[in-house]
Symmetry: C2
Subunit: 223 residues, 2 copies
DNA sequence: ACGCTAAGTTAGCGATGTTCAGTGAACGGC
DNA sequence: GCCGTTCACTGAACATCGCTAACTTAGCGT
């Protein structure tokens, strides 16, 4: 139960080395246990082979440690999205693939995703999302679709709407894993398409047309 | 600070009365403080004027108490959605209004919403969502749209997709209140319309058409 | 060898969820 | 009128949590 790795004290200038070890221990603990409250400072300290207060030499408090974890997660998410975007046949298809990749990322790292995006972040720590390049890159992708004429409007506003849809599915799947969901791939695909096509339609047809109006127009497309 | 209401012990057969008082105290504490961790068993007990272990006479553990709170919240949400549905001009418009009402409910009861829908519920406690009549009623509303020919497919599947979109926006607004959101009413309206119209389009045009395909068709509707 | 300081520890505080043994009042039976 | 049982509830304690203050140890320059 109790592995005491007997960590050697860092050399004189290398005090910051502990920071990296603590961070990695926290991330590993999170992925292994799969539940946030298993990541106690005592558990992290023991895994590193160090005493608890030593963590405070490099992180202001537990939340700061979790924030650092989140930063790493956001970078990984950013890379996943950028990789997905490149696979698309065109800009709009790239958007779709990013949506799918987004949900899959959340499913692959549920506890990380929860900490980053399902916790209440307020005040100074709130801009973690904005500070990440992931959101900025996604807005860029949306802007490409606007330039291509597929979407119309302000890219950041459009991006938020798509983000909401993707996050909704991701968050529900993470929070309610035992809900009787249909086969995942189908569900993800359908929700992402719904959002993409819905955004294209609403942004191009104007925001003031009624929903019934649009449905009527859809009828004419039937043939 | 410390109000000790000196609660009188319940009469012989009325032991269950305490359950109601504890439940109400927990709900009030949640709405007043606005943060979940302010609802400690000691805080609840003190507010009721009773000792801590007495709570365990009526709730298996703290989570059971929170579950009971959630049950009440779901009932209120159900009523809000049903009231909103009646305002719609038709079934599809009723769906839209339910979406708007859903997000507004979350914004009005952010901490309750978080506990119910943004926490991990697993195992036996997972069916809290399914057990609530709110979801069933919403599926009924979707079914009416299917019967009216506005949507096509299995109502419960369609309902999940709309739920995902609405929840996504609600969850983001609750979790990131300091994010630079655009004006709320516009945002909510646009996301709900995106989902509704997107679902109508994807369900009627078939799931296998490409997104670019649909966009091309939308172009023809321009005039 | 000495001193300074970086690097880390020991001990402890208050708060949390939870459990166990016990207490006092109300009721039924005799 | 007394007794035993049961109901409603309490006091004290445990383990764990985040966090802090005060202390110790190891390594560098001189």
């Amino acid at each position: 139960m109790s592995e005491a790795p007997v960590r050697r004290r860092s050399a004189r200038g290398q005090g910051a080395a502990l920071r990296g070890e603590v961070l990695r221990a926290a991330m590993d603990l999170l992925t292994e246990t799969g539940q946030e409250d298993a990541v106690s400072l005592r558990a992290v300290a023991q895994r590193v082979g160090v005493s608890v207060p030593s963590i405070y030499l490099h992180f202001a408090d537990k939340q700061a440690l979790l924030d650092a974890v989140c930063e790493h997660v956001f970078e990984a998410l950013d890379q996943a999205l950028q990789a997905a975007a490149l696979e698309g046949e065109d800009a709009f298809d790239g958007l779709r693939l990013q949506g799918v990749a987004y949900v899959h990322f959340a499913l692959a790292n549920p506890e990380h995703y929860r900490i980053v995006l399902m916790r209440k972040h307020e005040g100074e720590r709130a801009d973690l999302v904005m500070a990440s390049s992931a959101f900025a890159h996604f807005v860029d992708s949306v802007a490409q679709c606007v330039e291509a004429g597929v979407l119309e409007g302000e890219p950041d506003q459009l991006a938020m709407r798509l983000w909401a849809a993707a996050h909704g599915l991701a968050a529900l799947l993470v929070a309610k894993p035992y809900f009787p969901w249909p086969p995942l791939d189908e569900l993800v695909d359908s929700v992402i398409r719904m959002a993409g096509i819905g955004l294209a339609a609403t942004s191009r047809l104007g925001d003031d047309c009624t929903m019934a109006d649009v449905v009527e127009r859809l009828d004419r497309l039937r043939d």
